[in-house]
Amino acid sequence: MIEKLYAVHVAALILFLVSNAFPFLTFEVLGNSSQATFSTAIQYLYEEGDYLLAVAVLMTTLVVPFSRIVIFLLLFAPLHHGRVPRFAPHLLKTLEDITPWGMLDVFLVGVLVSIVKLVKMGTIIPGISLWSFAALILILAYGESIFESHPIWERIEKAQHKGQVKTFRRLRS
């Protein structure tokens, strides 16, 4: 499981960066075209003054999913090499706390609905980022399906007994 999850999240990090770096969709009507990247929506929402919507979309589609990938890597890269990272309990706890707020899969459905909605009004041209994003969702879903936190917690506990890993107690008195 550890090897697979490590591999999955290395791939996910690459796909996530690609998804954010290239055009997502282009929409053309009567010779006018408008191109959007992954974060264009957040930018426009912010400019229009819809701060709450902007923050919600930013958190659920960028910050939380990206943090999850990074936390997975920070945890599983050392675990793969047989070490339990010193802040493993904090990382795994944070991971479990933020999980419900990562909504990339829901966002993908939103993309599909929008495409169907817009296709009648003009031409939709999918960008590189749309494909990498779809691949990202698939690979993350696979990662989610094989992830089990219990064995990780057991390894953390063993490392805590040896004094290699911090416990949480000092942080929260």
Binding site: L25, F27, V29, N32, S34, A36, T40, A41, I42, Y44, L45, E48, D50, L52, L53, A56, V57, T60, T61, P89, H90, L92, K93, E96, D97, P100, M103, V106, F107, V109, G110, V111, L112, V113, S114, V116, K117, L118, K120, M121, S149, H150, W153, I156, E157, Q160, T167, F168, R169, L171, R172
Partner: protein, 208 residues
């Protein structure tokens, strides 16, 4: 025999069993030695918190449906779309699949979630013992389906990003989108603050 009678609690994060100091009452908190999370024998004020959040989401659900989700501005004028008018549009133009996705995600799921949570609060508060397994499943359902309501918020934001032709043709988010977002967040928080162990407490009490 229940864990609470033995002063044992399960850590909500890492599932570690935590022994509580022998003390009466359900308000005791301890910290999990493994991951540091606060462990409660039962979440304190779970019913009050859940009920408060559910009531807030019911209130916000009204403007979420009445106010437009988005304004579509073209050279012909400005058109406003509510959740329901969007569903009707898809149904009339023959996109039944998309129409039902939006209907399920934006109308059915939030209403179902609110009703399930109200039902669970009601049964726990009145010490109903019947069908704990089924109620547990209902609770799990609310946790799983909750996030999918965000679809409509995303649709608005994606449409707004793509239909952006500098003033002439533009889509702007309406007030309904903000309220709808709040409904989604509040119902998610409500489901999280409900303690499903309460279902089993009342179930067991009556058998004892």
């Amino acid at each position: 025999m229940r864990a609470i009678n033995r002063n044992l609690g399960c850590c909500p994060t890492c599932r570690q069993l935590v022994t509580f100091p022998p003390k009466k009452g359900g308000e005791v908190a301890a910290y999990c030695p493994r991951c540091g999370s606060e462990v409660h024998l039962r979440k304190s004020h779970s019913l009050q918190n859940t009920l408060a959040l559910v009531i807030a989401s019911i209130i916000f659900y009204i403007p979420a449906n009445l106010l437009p989700m988005m304004h579509v501005q073209t050279f012909a004028g400005t058109e406003s779309d509510t959740i329901m008018s969007g569903v009707i549009y898809f149904m009339e133009t023959g996109s039944y699949l998309i129409g039902s996705v939006i209907f399920i995600a934006s109308i059915l799921v939030p209403v179902l979630k609110i009703l399930i949570l109200l039902y669970l609060i009601h049964t726990v508060r009145h010490h109903k013992a019947a069908k704990p397994k089924e109620r547990q499943k209902l609770y799990l359902l609310t946790e799983v389906i909750g996030r999918w309501s965000m679809v409509d918020v995303y649709v608005v934001s994606i449409m707004l990003a793509l239909v952006h032709f500098g003033g002439l043709t533009e889509i702007r988010a309406g007030g309904g989108a903000v309220f709808f977002l709040l409904v989604v967040i509040l119902t998610m928080l409500a489901a999280m603050s409900f303690d499903p162990r309460l279902i089993w407490d009342t179930a067991k009490e009556q058998h004892a």
